[in-house]
């Protein structure tokens, strides 16, 4: 149900606090970020339109945004790995809707090395 914060291909630790509990930060490697712009597709849109009659959770959109957020997170993790980081601290999420039907999911954080 939730976004998996840890990318399957890596063992980078993500937190949204300023430290990694249990280890000390030895080196700061700067800001890393990842983003993904997604538009909903027609099938989901029609289903959501019907669901909108009775309200409640729109599962199609929840999944769509989770996938997009996962992709943004993966991109951020890849950038951090290129910089030689093994953890990202202070991770933040941001969402902006560009037009009706498309949204940008944006993730950023500070890449660090922990010892």
């Amino acid at each position: 149900m939730t976004v998996r914060s840890r990318s399957s291909a890596s063992n980078i630790i993500l937190t949204n606090i300023e430290t990694i509990p249990g280890s000390t930060i030895t080196q700061h490697l700067g800001l890393v970020q990842g983003s993904s712009v997604r538009a909903k597709h027609l099938g989901r849109d029609i289903a959501a339109g019907l669901k909108n009659l009775v309200g409640g959770e729109l599962k199609g959109y929840t999944e769509l945004l989770q996938e997009a957020r996962q992709e943004a997170t993966d991109r951020m993790v890849q950038e951090a790995q290129r910089k030689g980081a093994n953890a990202i601290v202070n991770v933040r999420f941001a969402t902006s809707s560009l037009t009706q039907g498309a949204a940008e999911l944006f993730v950023y954080g500070t890449a660090v090395r922990v010892g």
């Binding site: 993500l14 430290t19 009659l53 309200g55 599962k59």
Partner: protein, 146 residues
């Protein structure tokens, strides 16, 4: 005339199914919140040292909730006079509690004792042309600590 009947039917469907779903959702939320038990959630913690912690991990919970036909119509009327729009207050509450719960359940499944530095964000998806659907995404994220 047919247009009016169609409108009334939609309104009735929105009202009956929408409020039934809402009540069910609230009962479900309450049950799941009680099941969480001892997990401590805090909004502070970004700068607090956690010397006893062995591991940390980011957890995200998200949900997209939408308004029903009846709510949208009532809100449209209420917007004329302004003031409190109760039908949307319950919608936002549902979204927020659901997102928080999903984050907490994921953290608990991982073995967290507490979740620190929790942040809740809301983003509107529907666009605001008055025609489209009223939908918003709520995400809750925080660092699980064990």
């Amino acid at each position: 005339m047919e247009g009016w009947i169609f409108f009334a039917v939609l309104l009735a469907i929105g009202f009956f199914f929408g409020s039934r779903a809402e009540q069910q959702h609230f009962r479900d939320l309450q049950r799941r919140e009680q099941a969480l038990g001892g997990l401590v959630i805090s909004v502070v913690g970004a700068k607090v040292a956690l010397p006893d912690a062995a591991g940390a991990e980011l957890f995200v919970g998200s949900v997209v909730v939408s308004s029903d036909y009846f709510k949208t119509f009532v809100a449209g009327l209420l917007k004329l006079v302004g003031g409190r729009i109760g039908v949307y207050e319950t919608l936002l509450e549902r979204g927020r509690r659901e997102a928080l719960l999903r984050m907490e359940e994921a953290a608990l499944a991982w073995g967290a004792e507490r979740v620190v530095n929790v942040r809740i964000q809301t983003a509107e998806l529907g666009g605001n042309n008055g025609q489209g659907i009223v939908a918003l995404e709520v995400i809750a994220y925080g660092t699980g600590v064990r």
